[in-house]
Amino acid sequence: MVVGDVTTGTDVLVIGGGPAGYSAAIRAGQLGLDVTLVEKDAYGGTCLNHGCIPSKALITATDVAHEARHAEEMGIHADPAVDLAGMVDWKDGVVDQLTSGVEKLCKANGVALMEGTATFADENSVRVSHGGEGQGSESVEFERAIVATGSRPIQIPGFDFADDPVLSSKDALSLESVPESLVIVGAGYIGMELAGVYAKLGTDVTVVEMLDEMLPAYPDDLTRPVEKRAQELGIDFHFGYSASEWQDLGDGIRVVAEPAEAAATDGGTAEAVEADTIELDTEKVLVAVGRQPVTDTLDLDAAGVETDDRGFVPTDDRGRTNVDHIHAIGDVAGEPMLAHTGMYEGETVAEVVAGEPAAIDYQAMPAVVFTDPEIATVGMTEDEVEDAGFEPLVGKFPFQASGRALTTGHADGFVKVVADEESGFLLGASVVGPEASELLGELGLAVELGATLEDVSSTIHAHPTLSESVMEAAANALDQAIHTLNR
């Protein structure tokens, strides 16, 4: 390894300025540690620049137009025109505000910021190469390192993100005009969120998914309202198909998909095993089949840090890799690859590094899919409760019975809670419906605190709110619901 002329020393080196990395750096700074954060690209990482925030901005904005367009029932007649370039500008403004906020917060908490790509030289130093021509590089020595280099979209054979009609999720969040048609490969959460955005913008959306259902990570009762809505939005689905290649048609492209063996041999539905190749003519194709860890710029070997067979960096409950003084957090450390997981790990590991009695020991990890309607889950599923050896007691409340839901015109879906029958402790919850993402806050707190069904059902909730549904679902498990029938 070439050693540069400049050598900096830092107690704690954080590599990567996404939610995991900046949270770790800020918390370390708050704890009085000498901390340096290296980021090669943009503060805020995937989440702020090309992930959570831009996607939610577009989802919310397209909903404003879509809601008004479909509110005749409420006595509202509107035909909004959407200027996608204008919407993307607005979204970029939101992103800028947040990323510059992250930068300010880092500085205010005493974090030294360094721009460049960090590569391990050995167990106690990295080389940071600065971006532009002739910007050179420098060596940084550390006592402890925290790897937070995140993830990137997976490319599949036949679809190169460098080609113009082939979009990654990042590209799909910055289009300048609404495509007439869009094929989306992958019906996971990213694909389904963007399917909703473009369908509402008027694009003819077709989704190709290898497995035989959308959002395969979620149980059917949760995905059913989303499926119904997707149909209303005119989104077409081809389940059990793998996209294999695309062809240039001059004024558009043709996406070719083959029956996915996996689905077929699995005994998929009739629809899923249609024998033949399908051809879908479209303007663009978005590939959203998953994300993989980013470690290629790091030279982990030089530091002796091991990865697993998928490239993730395994860690223990203090976020330590196999090398004790090198930690890994966020997407690069494996599932669940979610921003809030990364932030929690970042804060926790910063505390560990500062010698505090911290550990990664949550009871309740939330997850949200911002489809229409939203899906939100926290803690254990009914099956997991059973597998863990508890007797599951389930309570449910349909939004059709919620006054607040009806006043918003969105009453599909339900809140479901799962508890241990004997003790009444809440172990998990799931919601599909309006503001599911926000209702999860209370449900997560309840699981995390070890609240019982009775605790939740006898806490007064303001009327009329959707959050009453949380209380009613808990009461339903106890056969005490007022606004829905008990079992």
């Binding site: 540690l33 006592e143 500062a354 009695p357 911290a358 070890g450 009775e454």
Partner: protein, 108 residues
């Protein structure tokens, strides 16, 4: 049931209590909960730490942090600003005042 041991090892204690257990070197899975439905309270953890201390006087060394000399600098000292046992009674009393479930909710 009042028994803290659950089939899965899932712990019924709020985050503040779980952190206290780490701070005091108490294995929380072994603590008997006296809160509503057997929830583990900070008082339970402190009591467990006390009885551990009686059995194993060197409990301090169990606070498992590898408070690495590597961390160097002023902050290597673990922040145990909470004086264990000191405000025990006061905290327990305040908690009792708020854990209303304990007082009125035991329907059976």
């Amino acid at each position: 049931s009042g028994d803290a041991e659950t089939p899965s090892g899932h712990v019924f204690a709020p985050p503040s209590v779980r952190r206290l257990a780490r701070e005091l070197g108490v294995a929380i899975e072994t603590v008997e909960g006296t809160g509503p439905s057997g929830r583990i309270t900070d008082g339970d953890v402190r009591a467990a730490a006390q009885s551990d201390a009686q059995r194993e006087p060197d409990v301090e060394s169990e606070t498992d942090e590898p408070t690495d000399s590597a961390t160097a600098g002023a902050d290597a000292e673990p922040e145990t600003d909470d004086d264990p046992g000191g405000d025990d009674a006061a905290t327990a009393a305040t908690q009792a005042a708020y854990a209303r479930g304990a007082a009125t909710a035991q329907v059976e």
